[in-house]
Amino acid sequence: MIETEPAPSMSDHPPIGDDALHPYIPLTPDDRAAMLATIGVADTDALFADIPAHLRNPDLDLPPALPEPALVAHMRALAAANVTAETHACFLGAGAYRHYRPALVDPLVMRGEYLTSYTPYQPEVSQGTLQTIFEFQSLVCALTGMDVANAGMYDGATALAEACLMACAVTGRRRIAISDRVHPHWIAVVRNYAHGRDIAVDVQPHAEFAVTAEHACLAVQQPDFLGRVSTSAQSWADAAHDAGALFVAAADPVSLGLYRPPSDYGADIVVGEGQSLGVPLSFGGPYVGLFACRDKYIRQMPGRIVGETTDLDGRRGYVLTLQTREQHIRRERATSNICTSQQLIALSTAVYLAALGPHGLRRVAELSYARAHDLARRIASIPGYTVEDDEPWFCEFVVRTPRPVDEINRALLEHNIIGGLDVSDVRNRMLLCATEMNSDDELDRLVGALSEVEASR
C-alpha cells in the first residue's frame, strides 16, 4: 500500500571509522540534511530558537562515552565490588527474601514484547500485558483470599501506605492505627504519605491496640517485622471492626503458601511485598506491592485494574477499567497519583506462581520454615545464644547474642557469611532468616562460626 524508496546498496556507505556514529541514534548526515530541508530550516540550532540563547549549550560535566565493551567491563567491576548473596552465604531477611527463581521465569519475562511495551492504553495491541495483569489480579486474590486485587503498587511499604489512605477515604476519618511490629521502614512510609494529607498516625504497641471511633484502620503485619505469626489476628480484626475501622493486613506472599490467608481472620484490605515470589534482591528494587480488598471497596482502590470484556466480534479480551478513579481522568480528586507502577515485576511474580503452582509454593514455604527452624534449634544449643521462641514464627527469628551484633557480623563476614540484621534493644539481638536457598553446608558454616565467636571470648 505504501511505496517505499529502494534501499541503498551495501556498497553505499560512509568511510569506515566515522566517529559520529552512535548505535542509539540512527540519523546519518544525509538524513539530517534532507530532514532539515523538509522542515525548511538551515540547521538544528533553529529548532532550539525558543530557548534563551545565552543559556543554550551549557557545559556538561559528565564522563566521556564508553564503548560497549568498556561499559560492560566497568559495570562488571562495579558489580564485583559488592558482597552479595551470590558470593556469600546470606542470612538477612527483614523484608527482602531470597527464594529460588525457576529458570523459565527470566526468559519469559525478559521477552521484548513484555519488557519494552508501554502501559496497555491500546488494548487491541496489548492483550498480552492485559491478560497477564488479569491473571496476576486473580492469583493475588487466590493467595490472599480477597475478592479483588489491583495490577500492583511500587512495593509492599507503599502498598501499605496507600491502603491506610484508602481506609481514610472509605471511613471519612483522618487517623491511622498501626502496630509497632510492622517493619519500621514501612511505618516510615506510612507516616510520610499520611503527613502529606495531614492524617495522624498512631503507632500502637502490639496486642494492646486501642482502636477508637477516630481511627480509619488498624494496620498489622503477618509475619511481623521479626518473623512472628500471631494466632490472635481475628481479635485485632474484631477490635478494628467494633470501632468502625477497617482491618488492614500486610502479609508475605510466600508465607501464604502455608498459612491461613488474611481473609480468614477478617482483613478488609490485604497488602504484601511481592519480592519474595522469586524476584531478585537487586539491592531493594524494583519490587512490586500486592494490593487486594473486599468487593465493596473497589471504587476506592488505588492503582490500575484490568477487567474482562469482549470485542466487536464477541471475542474475549481485556481492558484497563474503572479508570475514573485514576489521576489522568479525575486529576486532583483521584484515589492516588500512581501512574507507572511495577508491571514487569508483577508479571515476574505471576510467572513464578504459574511455575510453582500450589504444591510448589507450599513446598517453598515448608522448606523455608523447616530450614529456619532447624537453624534456630541448632543455634539455641550453642552456649551463650538464646532464640526468642515464645511465639510461632515463619522463617525469621531473633537470637540473643553474647556479643554486639556488629562484632559478630564482622566475624561472620570473614567466613564469607552475611549475618542477620541488628535489632538490639537493651540486649544484643540479631534477626536471622533462612529459606530453601540456604544449604545444609551454609547452616553448618553459620553454626560453626557463631560457636567460634563465642568460644574465642
Partner: protein, 522 residues
C-alpha cells in the same frame, strides 16, 4: 485486512492459567518435603490454595503466546507522546542482571556494597549536573512518586521557614499526576490556561499569583510543555513566581527534548523530577518499573528523601568494611572518568544516610535499584556529547514529522516543536465524523502503535506524536506515509477508518461494559 480464515466466533485468543489448570501438574521440580517435626502447627495453616497447576510447557507456551499479542518498541515504532518510547539497549539489561547487583541484599551494611553505592552516588551527581541543580535523590520509585517527593520537599522547606502556603498553581495542560500529587501532598490546586500560541498566559499567571498571593507554594510546570512546546516566557515566569516567594517545580517528563541543550536549573527551576523510564531509557515493562529521581537546589537538599548516598571523606567509619572492596568501588568509578571531572574519591567509602531534615522514606529500600543501574549504563554509553546528540535528534525527528503532516492534520500551535508534535483531528471530525481515536486505531493496521490520544486535554481531538531519536528517517517516512494515507481514507472510505483496527489480534473492545459490570478475576 480482516483475516477471513479466522473463525468468526473464536471465543478467546489464549486460555487463562485457570483454564489451562489440570490437577497433578507442576512446572518446576523442588526438593522433598521436610520431616513432619519441622512443619508448623495445623491450626495456623491453610487447607486450600486455589492456584493453577500447569506443566512446564504449558507455562512457557502461555507466556510466549501472550507476549506475541503485545506490541512493543522491540517490534514496532511506538510514538506515544509524553512517554518517550525509545530504544532500550540490551546492554543495560545485562548490567542490571549482573549477580553483583541482582544478588545484593538491601539491608546489607553500606560497607559491603561499595559498587552499588558508587553507582548511585555517581548517578545522583550526573542527574544533578544535567538538571543544573545541586543534588539529587534516587529514592522515588516512579515519576508520580518523584512528584510527590518534590512537593513534600517544598512543603517541608516552607514549614521550616515558618511559611504556611497551601496552594499549587498547575497549568491545565499538565499531566494528571500533577494535580493528583499536589492534592496528595495536601495542597489546593489552582489551574491556569495557556494562551493561544501554547505558552503560558502571563496575565492569567499574574492574576492567579495576585489572587492567591501569599498562599502559593509553587508553580508546577512541564518544560517543554505537554503541548510539545518550549515556553518562551520561562524566565519571566520563574521571576514572577520567585517574586511571590513561591518555588518553581519542574515536571521532567519531557527532559528528552532539552537534556544537554539547556539546564532546567538555569531556567529557574528549584525542583525537577526526572522519569528514568522516559529520557534515560529504562524499559517500560508494560507499566513499570520506572524511577522518578528528583534534583534540587542546595537549600532544599536537607529535606531530600531517605536514604541518600554520600561520600565519606574517611574510610574508618566502616569498621566492618571489606576495605579492598570499598576502595574498588570508588576506584572503579574513576576508571574511564573524564579528567575534566574534578571529583576524586581515593580510599573513600560511600554511606547511605538520612538527610538532616528529610521528608522521610518513599519505599522500604533505597529506590528501584535495577532501574538506576540501567539509567547509569545508558548515560555512560552516551557521554556528554551523546546526551546532546540524543535531544537534538529527538527534536529534529519530531519537527520532521510535523513538517510532513502539517497539511493533512491541523496544528493547534503552528510553530517549531520540541521532541513531540501535537496534531488535532478536529478537521477530520468536522468533515468526516472521524475522531482522533479512529485515526489512532487505523494506524495499527499500518503497523504503527498509535500516538497518545486526547492528551493534553486542552486540545480537542489531540494526537501527540513523539518519535524519539531512536527512529530512522525510513521509519519516520513510513509512519508519515501511513498518516497521510489515513487522512486520504478519511475522505475516500471513512467507514474503513471508523471500523479500525481490522488486522489486530482483536477488534475494538467494549470498555463501557467492562466498567459497568467489572469482572476483575477468574
Amino acid at each position: 485486512m480482516t483475516d477471513d480464515r479466522r473463525p468468526a466466533t473464536a471465543p478467546r485468543l489464549e486460555p487463562t492459567l485457570a483454564e489451562l489448570h489440570r490437577p497433578g501438574r507442576i512446572a518446576t521440580s523442588l526438593p522433598d518435603a521436610p520431616p513432619a517435626d519441622l512443619r508448623p502447627p495445623a491450626s495456623l495453616t491453610r487447607t486450600d490454595l486455589p492456584l493453577p497447576e500447569l506443566s512446564q510447557l504449558d507455562v512457557v507456551r502461555h507466556y510466549t503466546r501472550l507476549s506475541q499479542l503485545n506490541w512493543s518498541i522491540d517490534t514496532h515504532m511506538y510514538p506515544l507522546g509524553s512517554c518517550t518510547m525509545k530504544l532500550n539497549p540490551k546492554v543495560d539489561d545485562l548490567a542490571a542482571s549482573l549477580p553483583g547487583f541482582a544478588e545484593a541484599h538491601p539491608m546489607q551494611p553500606a560497607e559491603q556494597v561499595p559498587g552499588a553505592l558508587a553507582l548511585m552516588y555517581e548517578l545522583q551527581r550526573t542527574l544533578a549536573e544535567i538538571s543544573g541543580l545541586d543534588d539529587a535523590s534516587l529514592a522515588p520509585l516512579a515519576g508520580a512518586q518523584g512528584e510527590l517527593a518534590g512537593v513534600l520537599v517544598i512543603k517541608a522547606y516552607l514549614e521550616s521557614i515558618g511559611e504556611r502556603r497551601t496552594t499549587i498553581v498547575v497549568p491545565d495542560s499538565a499531566h494528571g499526576t500533577n494535580p493528583a500529587t499536589a492534592s496528595m501532598a495536601g495542597f489546593d490546586v489552582v489551574a491556569v490556561k495557556p494562551q493561544p500560541d501554547g505558552d503560558m498566559d502571563l496575565e492569567e499567571l499574574r492574576k492567579a499569583l495576585e489572587e492567591h498571593g501569599p498562599t502559593v507554594a509553587a508553580l508546577m510546570i512541564t518544560q517543554p510543555s505537554t503541548l510539545g512546546l518550549f515556553d518562551r516566557n520561562i524566565l519571566q515566569i520563574s521571576e514572577m513566581v520567585h517574586a511571590h516567594g513561591a518555588l518553581m517545580y519542574g515536571d521532567g517528563a519531557n527532559l528528552n527534548a532539552i537534556a544537554g541543550q539547556v539546564k532546567p536549573g538555569d531556567l529557574g527551576f528549584d525542583v525537577l523530577h526526572i522519569n528514568l523510564h522516559k529520557t534515560f531509557s529504562q524499559p517500560h515493562g508494560g507499566g513499570g518499573p520506572g524511577a522518578g529521581p528528583i534534583a534540587v537546589r542546595a537549600f532544599l537538599a536537607p529535606f531530600l528523601p531517605s536514604p541518600h548516598v554520600v561520600l565519606n571523606g574517611d574510610s574508618s567509619g566502616g569498621a566492618s568494611a571489606p576495605r579492598d572492596a570499598a576502595e574498588a568501588g570508588s576506584s572503579m568509578l574513576e576508571a574511564g572518568r573524564d579528567t575534566r571531572s574534578s571529583v576524586q574519591h581515593p580510599a573513600s567509602t560511600f554511606a547511605l544516610i538520612d538527610p538532616p531534615r528529610s521528608i522521610g522514606r518513599l519505599g522500604a529500600h533505597a529506590g528501584n535499584f535495577g532501574v538506576l543501574v540501567r539509567a547509569y549504563a545508558y548515560i555512560r554509553a552516551l557521554g556528554p556529547d551523546g546526551v546532546r546528540a540524543m535531544s537534538e535528534a529527538a527534536v529534529l525527528n519530531a519537527n520532521y514529522v510535523q513538517a510532513r503532516l502539517r497539511e493533512a492534520y491541523e496544528l493547534p500551535h503552528d510553530r517549531i516543536c520540541m521532541h513531540e508534535t501535537l496534531f488535532s483531528a478536529r478537521r477530520q471530525k468536522a468533515r468526516n465524523n472521524i475522531k482522533a481515536l479512529d485515526i489512532a486505531k487505523r494506524l495499527i493496521d499500518y503497523g504503527f502503535h498509535p500516538p497518545t490520544m486526547y492528551f493534553p486535554l486542552v486540545v480537542e481531538e489531540a494526537l501527540l506524536v513523539e518519535p524519539t531519536e531512536s527512529e530512522s528517517k525510513e521509519t519516520l517516512d513510513a509512519f508519515c506515509d501511513a498518516m497521510l494515507a489515513i487522512a486520504a481514507e478519511c475522505d475516500s472510505d471513512p467507514d474503513l477508518v471508523r471500523g479500525a483496527p481490522h488486522g489486530a489480534p482483536l477488534r475494538r473492545l467494549d470498555e463501557a461494559t467492562a466498567a459497568r459490570k467489572p469482572k476483575l478475576r477468574w
